[in-house]
């Protein structure tokens, strides 16, 4: 069995779905965050697969950008989550509802 484009795309879709439902259903901010990262990775997988399929470098260049942005995001996002935990002693999303009240 050869591994062709469709397999990569299915893998990417599965990864994206896992990430998406993780964001929707999980309560822990850290897990939600990891799921977000998963969605980004799913996107990069698809981009690399297309890049390979088309024999162009455009997809690979996108991947570098996405990784850079994701790294910066992690730095800021994790810092926010740590600060949040220090302040509120929790990172469960249902308890973080200060905007509502």
């Amino acid at each position: 069995m050869t591994v062709d484009l469709n397999h990569y795309l299915v893998l990417s879709a599965v990864l994206f779905a896992i990430g998406f439902f993780g964001v929707l259903l999980r309560k822990n901010t850290l897990v939600i965050y990891m799921c977000l990262e998963l969605m980004l990775v799913a996107a990069t997988v698809a981009l690399v697969a297309f890049s390979r399929y088309n024999n162009t470098m455009a997809g690979n260049v996108f991947v570098f950008f996405i990784l850079t942005v994701a790294a910066a995001e992690v730095a800021v996002g994790l810092a926010i989550i740590v600060a949040l935990f220090r302040r509120r002693q929790t990172i469960q999303v249902e308890e973080l509802n200060a905007l509502k009240n």
């Binding site: 964001v23 259903l25 939600i32 999303v93 249902e94 509802n97 200060a98 905007l99 509502k100």
Partner: protein, 627 residues
């Protein structure tokens, strides 16, 4: 110093005085009184200087500055000073000074003396503004200012409910008239393109009757003619010197003066209306005066009656007379001459009478009921002598000022309209009747109250103005050639006075005086009750009803008609404007807000769903599934 400069100083000095008093001297009554009186002296000096030097300006070439420009429309402030203005400014200056000096004594112990004298100063400023103004807009501005100062001064004893009611009544009734005045000015500008007194002229269009009648509305309010006469008797709640200056001598005469200023606009139809309004007011007020027991109310109705005379005289209009030497027909605006002549003499003798009544009231410790006075001729000899001169002058005793001016009006009426002549002659009889009634009740017989028994003459500051005004009330009427006490002053006005020839006016005046005064002298006993009321209660009751009915009509109108109309308007306003438009709009916005707030559940997952929904929507839109 040129004349315009003197006029400016004369105009602005009282304003400066009022400003200083209002800003710095509210607590220092005596200093305020001194400054205000000094300002009045400057005004009198300036006015007489202008008059005696025969200054004329703003007549041939304008003496004005541009004040406001709105597109094509410019509003200018300027002076017009001719013989008419010279006469009026002299009256204002002299009577004003007398009243200021009298006030020094009369208001000596008043707690809020500073406010009183500040009010007098602002009044002097406003009045001079009307006299000097060269266009109708400027007259209107100062017209409103005299209304304001009149309000302040009527309201001087503001802790008294009746005084504050009276001041409001005066202001509101005047506003009714002023609204017509303003409409007249606007219409005049619209039809003629100018409101400058020098450029006005009677047009021959559909508005030529309407314009003078609307402008006359202003005079009806300010000069208290029917049907807006109700405020003047109530205005007697103010201090007596104020009644003398504002509600007898000057401000109420401003209406007559304004009419004389716009004489060129007058057309026969308008003059007929003006004539009848004046005639009816004169007669009506003299009927009312008979039943009054308050010394100031008698004088107030007498003022109304005399103002009616002036308005009627103005309305009688011009007179043709044949010049013997050149055999040409000369038209003189006799109405203006007669009205201004009577205005002049009336200012003197009515200010005298009011200040005399002020002296009586002051002497009797603020007792104003003539049935509680009596026998004051011995206790207050100076007041008695001067007051008597005033009474005789207003009744038209020959050789006193009132005789000449009233005679001029009656002569004019005789020439022009016999019905008006008959009513005015009857009014003159009634004038003599009620004046002698008051005179007898106040000064003769036994004293009828504790206050009157201890009556005393006021100080020099109160008696001196009385003598000055008494002298003027005696000599003020000599304007005919040969014995003209004014020499060549005010010739432009005096030349317009109609003169009767022969002994006829003499006899007429004497008959009027004897009938009226004799009846009063015979009828009234110096008693504590009204003799007329005791003997003929039905007649007295009828006169009382006549006196009170305008107030009843206004009460009914305001309470029943106007109030209901106002309630209807308020209902519409509540429903439509504030209900539907304002509350409705805010309700819609509020509903949207409530809906939008419901989306903010504070749950991160809910936001993700909304985000998903939004993305799906965008996608659908981009794919063309929507719209």
């Amino acid at each position: 110093m040129d004349a315009i400069c003197i006029a400016l100083i004369t105009l602005l000095t009282p304003l400066v005085s009022a400003t200083i008093i209002a800003l710095f001297l509210r607590k220092q009554g005596t200093l305020a009184a001194a400054i205000s009186t000094l300002a009045a002296a400057v005004v009198a000096a300036g006015a007489l200087t202008l008059a005696f030097t025969g200054a004329h300006f703003g007549v041939d070439k304008p003496a004005s500055v541009e004040w406001l420009r709105l597109g094509n429309f410019t509003l200018s402030l300027g002076f017009k000073f001719d013989d008419l203005a010279a006469l009026m400014i002299s009256i204002v200056g002299v009577v004003g000074l007398c009243v200021h000096v009298f006030s020094l004594g009369y208001m000596h112990d008043d707690a809020s003396k500073a406010r009183y004298f500040g009010g007098l100063s602002i009044f002097m400023f406003s009045m001079l503004g009307i006299v000097l103004a060269d266009n109708l807009f400027m007259i209107f501005i100062f017209w409103e200012l005299v209304g304001f100062s009149s309000y302040v001064l009527i309201n001087h004893y503001h802790e008294k409910m009746s005084a504050s009611d009276a001041s409001k009544k005066a202001f509101i009734v005047n506003r009714v008239g002023d609204f017509g005045f303003l409409l007249g000015i606007v219409l005049c500008y619209w039809a003629n393109g100018t409101v400058n007194l020098n450029e006005l002229g009677a047009g021959h269009n559909v508005y030529s009757t309407l314009i003078p009648l609307l402008l006359f509305c202003g005079a009806v309010g300010k000069s208290a003619q029917m049907p807006l006469q109700v405020w003047l008797p109530d205005a007697m709640e103010g201090p007596t010197p104020v009644s003398a200056l504002i509600h007898a001598a000057t401000m109420v005469a401003a209406g007559i003066y304004m009419l004389c200023r716009i004489d060129v606009l007058m057309v026969p139809d308008a003059l007929t209306v003006i004539m009848w309004v004046g005639t009816i007011t004169a007669f009506y007020a003299s009927l009312c005066a008979i039943t009054q027991s308050d010394i100031k109310k008698v004088l107030a109705y007498s003022t109304l009656s005399q103002l009616g005379y002036m308005v009627a005289a103005f309305g009688l209009g011009s007179l043709d007379h044949l010049d013997e030497s050149t055999k040409t027909l000369i038209t003189i605006s006799a109405g203006v001459g007669a009205a201004m002549f009577h205005l002049t003499t009336h200012a003197f003798f009515k200010a005298l009478l009011f200040l005399g009544s002020g002296s009586v009231i002051h002497g009797c410790h603020h007792e104003q009921d003539i049935f509680k006075m009596g026998g004051l001729s011995k206790k207050m000899p100076f007041t008695f002598v001067t007051f008597t001169i005033g009474v005789f002058a207003i009744c038209g005793l020959p050789f006193l000022s009132g005789f000449y001016s009233k005679d001029a009006i009656l002569h004019l009426a005789q020439e022009k309209n016999m019905a008006v002549f008959a009513i005015l002659a009857l009014t003159a009889v009634l004038t003599a009747f009620y004046m002698f009634r008051m005179w007898k009740l106040v000064f003769f017989g036994e004293t009828r109250s504790h206050e009157a028994a201890h009556a005393h003459e006021g100080g020099l500051s109160m008696t001196a103005p009385l003598f000055v005004l008494a002298a003027l009330a005696v000599i003020g009427g000599y304007t005919e050639e040969g014995h003209n006490i004014y020499q060549n002053l005010f010739a432009g006005v005096w030349s317009q006075i109609p003169h009767a020839e022969g002994a006829e006016p003499f006899i007429m005046s004497l008959v009027i005086l004897i009938v009226g005064a004799g009846a009063a002298w015979m009828l009234y006993k110096p008693a504590a009750t009204d003799t007329l009321e005791d003997k003929v209660p039905s007649l007295f009751g009828f006169l009382a009803v006549v006196k009170a009915s305008p107030d009843w009509i206004y009460d009914w109108y305001v309470a029943k008609v106007q109030q209901r109309f106002a309630m209807l308007l308020k209902f519409i306003e509540d429903m439509l404007l504030s209900g539907l438009i304002i509350r409705g709009l805010s309700g819609v916005v509020g509903l949207i807000g409530i809906g939008a707030r419901a989306l903010h559940v504070g749950n991160l997952h809910a936001y993700v769903y909304w985000f998903l929904f939004g993305t799906a929507l965008l996608w659908a839109y981009a794919a063309g599934w929507l719209f």
